[in-house]
């Protein structure tokens, strides 16, 4: 097993004003690992994942991604972001651009690739998420599941070594959840390093190397999915899983 560290979060705390959202978070993710973070709403799980590409700024501790520590230096932030893909709960596709343009815009502006090459790469990943025929449509013309798959393709176009998923299926109609999860499962099968905030416990069971349970801005416990789901040690984990599985 490859034990190189992809993300190392050490002693990270964060406050919104006087309210502490993260308290002394320690978490390392090795290359090729797939970490699922779960926990009740308000537990800080989204905030944590958003700190990993500095969409949120942490006030204490350190976060190192692929050997680069995240500080206020824009150069470092850009280097990390161009190597870390992110998929959002609400897709955040650009509504004024076509599906294809959504997938090429960062390649052209960040990677400075010529249009033809960017288009080729975009089409490759649109095929990978099974919607090449929608390339010239606008996001508003697609279903939620299709939009989320475009968002995944858009992130993959930057050839990231790590993918972050922030509740990628929470905004979807139930019948569309599967197509998105299937895409994520196939990514996992390819060995992508993934950190995923989700309540999809079957997904966690199937692909997660480890499941992290958070509550009140802290990591309560982390373990392999079958262990954590069948025999959680902490009372809070038990209560949360109990609610989720019923």
């Amino acid at each position: 097993m490859n034990t190189q560290t992809a993300i190392k979060v050490a002693g990270v705390s964060k406050w919104y004003g006087a309210f502490q959202v993260l308290t002394g978070i320690d978490l390392s993710v090795h290359k090729g690992e797939r970490i699922v973070i779960c926990g009740p709403s308000g537990s800080g799980k989204s905030t944590l994942i958003r700190c990993m590409n500095r969409l949120e700024v942490h006030q204490e501790g350190s976060i190192v991604v692929n050997g680069i520590e995240l500080t206020n230096q824009l150069k470092r932030i850009d280097r990390v972001r161009s190597d870390v893909g992110m998929v959002f709960q609400h897709f955040n596709l650009f509504p004024h651009l076509t599906v294809l343009e959504n997938c090429t815009v960062a390649q052209r502006w960040v990677r400075k690739l010529p249009k033809r090459q960017a288009t080729e790469i975009a089409m490759k990943y649109l095929e990978r998420v099974h919607i090449p025929e929608k390339a010239n449509k606008y996001p508003g013309q697609l279903s939620g599941g299709q939009q989320q798959r475009v968002a995944i393709a858009r992130a993959l176009c930057m050839n990231p070594s790590i993918m972050l998923f922030d509740e990628p299926t929470s905004a979807l109609d139930p019948e569309m959840v599967k197509e998105v999860l299937d895409t994520m499962i196939s990514l996992a099968a390819d060995g992508m390093t993934m950190v995923c905030v989700t309540h999809e416990m079957n997904f966690a069971r199937e692909v997660a190397s480890e499941v992290v349970f958070m509550d009140g801005g802290q990591i309560i416990e982390r373990d392999k999915p079958d262990v954590l789901f069948s025999a959680p040690t902490h009372e809070r984990t038990k209560r949360f899983l109990g609610k989720l599985l019923h």
Binding site: R81, S82, P95, H96, G140, M158
Partner: protein, 225 residues
């Protein structure tokens, strides 16, 4: 009574046509500069620094509050009293009108654009930032086009309103449409024909702008239909 031949003569007279060109030219210059600066001011309104936001508010308050006529007269008559610079030959009625109307238009456009920028969700910026795009790239490629789509109807309103406000520049003897008409009336006393001709010019220009608005809205709303 109304004489059709005089009316037609007025419409096709060279001075009125030149006056119309001046009106259009001045409006376009003011609008172009105000769009750029209004956009700057409008995005500064969302600055995390309180002093910057305060400055924007102060500017908008001042130039939305001051009547256009007052600002025009202040710039044309007042500035030369303040500084030698404005007593030189370059400070023509056109320059003065351009300056005065821009000061006002910037304030109005800043307000329009501020709300348009705010209407583009934060998720758009985050989506682009997560892909590694820089702040100015995000502004140019992601935020601005979406904000403009939202703002086009209001911007066009402001443009049309500006076009008609240029007629106030007659008080500083800028030879735009209204000044030219009034000159003609002063010698001919044909009120109906000349006012009518000027009205036709305004209506034609505004009609063209309205058509342009539909066209622009149509283009910018791709993806929202």
């Amino acid at each position: 009574m109304f004489q059709l031949d005089l009316f037609l003569q007025a419409i096709f007279s060279a001075p009125l046509f030149k006056g119309a060109l001046l009106t259009i030219g001045l409006s376009i210059c003011v609008m172009a500069v105000s769009l750029v600066l209004g956009m700057g001011l409008g995005s500064m309104a969302g600055s995390p620094r309180r002093s910057v936001r305060w400055l924007v508010t102060l500017y908008v308050w001042l130039f939305r509050g001051a009547p256009a006529l007052l600002v025009l007269l202040f710039v044309w008559n007042g500035l030369p009293q303040i500084s030698e610079v404005f007593r030189a030959g370059w400070f023509t009625p056109f320059v003065a009108a351009f300056l005065a109307l821009s000061l006002i238009q910037i304030a109005y456009l800043a307000e329009v654009l501020r709300s348009a920028f705010a209407a583009v969700g934060r998720g758009q910026q985050e989506g682009a930032a997560a892909l590694g795009m820089h702040r100015w790239q995000i502004f140019l490629v992601i935020t601005m086009p979406q904000a403009l789509r939202i703002a086009v109807p209001s911007l066009m309103n402001e443009f049309i309103s500006l076009l008609k406000t240029t007629s106030l520049a007659t008080v500083i003897s800028l030879k735009e449409l209204m000044t030219v008409s009034q000159f003609a009336i002063a010698t001919s006393f044909r009120f109906l024909e000349w006012y009518g001709a000027a009205l036709v010019y305004y209506l034609v220009i505004v009609s063209v702008l309205t058509l342009a608005q539909y066209r622009i809205e149509h283009v910018l709303s791709r993806g929202y239909r």
